[in-house]
Symmetry: C2
Amino acid sequence: MSTVDISYLEQIRSLLHDQGAAEALRELAGELQPYDLSELLTKLEDEEQLLFLAALPPAIAAETLEYFDPVEQYHFLDHLDPEVAARILNLMPSDAVVELFTALHPRQTEQLFALLEEPFHEQIRNQMSYPENSAGSLASVDYIAARRWWTVEQTLSHMRKVQATAELFNYVYVLGPLGELVGVISLRQLILADPDTRLDEIMVQKLITVPAELDQEQAARLVANYDLIALPVISSTGKMVGILTVDDVVDVIEEEATEDIHLLGGSGPVETPYFKTSLATFFRKRFVWLLLLFVAQAFTGNILRHYEGLLAQVVALSFFIPLLTGTAGNAGTQTSTMVIRALSMGEIRAGDFLKVIWRELRLGLALALPMAAITFLRALLLGSSTYMGFTVATTILVTITVSSTIGAIMPIVGKKLNIDPAVFSSPMITTVMDSLGLIIYFQFARLILGF
Amino acid sequence: MSTVDISYLEQIRSLLHDQGAAEALRELAGELQPYDLSELLTKLEDEEQLLFLAALPPAIAAETLEYFDPVEQYHFLDHLDPEVAARILNLMPSDAVVELFTALHPRQTEQLFALLEEPFHEQIRNQMSYPENSAGSLASVDYIAARRWWTVEQTLSHMRKVQATAELFNYVYVLGPLGELVGVISLRQLILADPDTRLDEIMVQKLITVPAELDQEQAARLVANYDLIALPVISSTGKMVGILTVDDVVDVIEEEATEDIHLLGGSGPVETPYFKTSLATFFRKRFVWLLLLFVAQAFTGNILRHYEGLLAQVVALSFFIPLLTGTAGNAGTQTSTMVIRALSMGEIRAGDFLKVIWRELRLGLALALPMAAITFLRALLLGSSTYMGFTVATTILVTITVSSTIGAIMPIVGKKLNIDPAVFSSPMITTVMDSLGLIIYFQFARLILGF
């Protein structure tokens, strides 16, 4: 199932060391999917990896390489015979080439650029002019283009010719004289149509398109919403830039969810898989946030020193500090997580902001009431006075309500200011609530206990 | 772009109230995507919605309905003329029908079942026998099936006949006499092949398949890994159950990420979109967790009371409580979030557990060292003695290291015990670290300050 039979590894090894076995090796590779080949490749020795890649049909080698990260891809291409490397590189989908080129050192990029043939070379240069993480940089140029006056017959015969490089075979895009997109025909329509029909008689002209400048996350949501296999990406002048396919969308959606989750955990987002990320990278991503939160958290020391007299008189006040600040932080975390996810799923729009805050305020109050009653009982159980019980219960009532509301306000304000709402993570909310909660607590203590 | 031109709404309204405008209405609808139609539909009055759905071609109405949740779908189908409802329902993809039927009250399900025609009726019954959230229940039966002795010509002409109901046109699945999957042919291959070729001469026999019992998350990852548009789902006896398409995979991946994010925020996962979820549902999902964490957190009260004498002698000890527990909680949250995401992305496997814990222990120590130095300075700045500074610095050193390690251990142990690792959320880790951190703190205080 998910992991490929390990017995292939031994067969590949023995075939690699046998000069005359090229054909047998290709046959073996033909039985496997590129993903499986990539898994096998990682298990080979350095020298064997290069032999194996060179032995694969270039189109298969190109698909296999896609499963590696840019640094590894460069390593392979750099160590292969330049002619073999060029053949493989020119067969990679354009979005994969753009991803590779933008990740490398400019000198390495130029070295690989020299291997590209026209018109691919030109297309890649063009696509690299779009900002990283925009729909334009993600688009693949390996779609099938046709002209409006072509017949169905002509189009099908054109498709047979270009089939080796087309990433997507489901749609034919009809382009005007300046490369502008004028219509789309599905392969299904082509098969059903009379062979002599002209494309402009059957093409769909009302199109859903993605602007090339659009952020990849929004573009991905567009493809996902329409449940389509691909959407055309269009430049500001109406020219066809490429197509955005649903398998790229899956990657974008996973990537963006991972980014949100890492930020919500109070750390910078890490883009590489867990074991491919060095401890130094993790250290950098985490230390900055840990330090920032520490500085914010350090205010609690000043607040507590401010109320030193009160604390010295009623040591029992300190018994409740972690419980009160912890619970308020938890309520705020719940709200902010819900709101942040709904924002990134596009469920909450700009016009809804006040409505969301009003909802979360009421929900916070509804949660605060029973929690306050329970806190009151807990205080009595711990042997506190009724006054003390009232103090902690009132504090819980106010802090849970405030913290739920703040948990909604912070990500929303962030969104307005164009800050990723996910930075208003649980550690952020709990840190803010620690200080705020202490002030509320001591003010109520003064008021109710009468110091 | 993403939102459809609102001027359509007025046109639709006026056409709906005009008896003879059925044709014009269908033409208008033809210009729009089902997703757009669903957006327009929500803006119409109840009565208009039913008129509009009945006026649409049934296949389009079926696709439009897919964008609504089960309760709304039932509302429409129940209020439409039964004949119209039956036509629409029989054209919905089987995975959508299964999703609808499993969400409804059994009586409502039976009412709709009566509308299904054979063999769809039988297929749906069959598919509903798979557990919810398994690949089998997600599979769509709207694929194109062929026999091994068919020629390419015969197959293409069969495809022309069934094209209205097939969800996926990219692959033809070749079935054996008992419905077992024996091969796959892509439409690309069909177009390129000689019309008289038999399917078993060109079909691919080495297949990647998904077992019907597999959890939807693992099945989704399989499709995503192989970058394929669809994978066949196979029963334990080798029979073809249906296909899992990449657009369903997008939904599963988004759903699972949302679930993880909600759990990480310390609340039960909420499955409906933000504004479609009642405050009562949010209350239930959140209150249980808030209460659970409160109970765990309440131990801090006992710990502090245990050290009451120490606290009364050195009130300054309490100044550092929120800072120390907060920072340790943050470090633990960072680790657990990273590990939980890597677990659900399949980046960490069962054999890696000790390696992960060892990594996070070292990383925790690396982060703890500079943080301890900073804490020491902070204590001196707050006017504490050098001894006091040593106490808090040592506490930070130990708690950050411990908390990073625990942040890795808890989700991993959870995974081993088959508990969703995401329940070991930030609130969970911070709550545990509050108690543990206090004990470590007071023990060091006794030792270093000599009480």
